[in-house]
Symmetry: C2
Subunit: 156 residues, 2 copies
């Protein structure tokens, strides 16, 4: 496990963190769907082809979960994150199909200290998940709380 | 598999569909977290107790996925759903802890025919996921598309 070295102060507006790459397999699409979203286009190749999604397609919630894992691997696990209260919006803009490779970015829109919890700041992100064609498949914005650097660390 | 018998016309504003109940187990919290959100408070009981979540807590994305499954079992799988373009917002308002029992409701806020796709209508819902204490743990709104009844079915 890498050392946590990202604090609130490191998430300056405009800074961007790359996501992925992450391969999407047939097996994981079906496995997730069986447990959480057992609709035909997420379970069966032929049903997917017949649907407007055009192939075996990941549940939107599976795409969101894969996006979470890409954030974890890119910057969250090495940050002093204090969690997120939710998502402002999330758009599943294009189908995520078996064989796709996901990437994208999280970009800081704004940040501010949290008045109610001294030592904690809130960072608002715009997140784009893209496929191998450069198309945005999932677009969202949300705010994540991070601990601030101890004063001792910067001035001692 | 039950027959699909819910069409756009069946989602009248004010109609509400019960969700759950669904037990949340330690094992599934850890399994989901290992794959999608490997942060200490989702992986380890002691780490969860030390965090502001107060115990081994489900990832917000896991709660969202369980919410999806409750919608599936309550009304989506027996509907002529054409999918959802995303979520307008989602708030993870309280921790979902191992041993909790989730329930809640999806209530229709409004509905309208989709001009760009004849025969399809859009239904906007407010979704509340609650725990066994009646507290709302996850609040969201989103729109889902449904096929309309064939004219032949209602007038022939």
């Amino acid at each position: 496990m890498s050392e946590a070295n990202l604090y609130y102060e490191d998430f300056a507006p405009g800074r961007s963190f790359a996501l992925g790459p992450r391969q999407v397999t047939t097996e994981e699409i079906i496995e997730f769907a069986r447990e959480f979203d057992p609709q035909p286009m997420h379970l069966d190749e032929e049903a997917g082809k017949r649907s407007i999604l055009g192939g075996l397609a990941a549940s939107g919630w599976h795409t969101s979960a894969m996006f979470m894992r890409m954030m974890i691997d890119s910057y969250l696990l090495r940050s002093h994150s204090e969690g997120a209260p939710g998502v402002d919006f999330m758009e599943w803009k294009k189908p995520v199909l078996a064989g796709d490779t996901l990437g994208g970015s999280s970009t800081v829109l704004e940040s501010r200290p949290l008045r109610s919890r001294p030592g904690i700041g809130v960072v608002k992100f715009r997140h784009e998940v893209t496929n191998q064609h450069g198309e945005v498949v999932c677009l969202s914005e949300n705010s994540i709380m991070f601990r601030m650097r101890e004063r001792s660390e910067v001035s001692a």
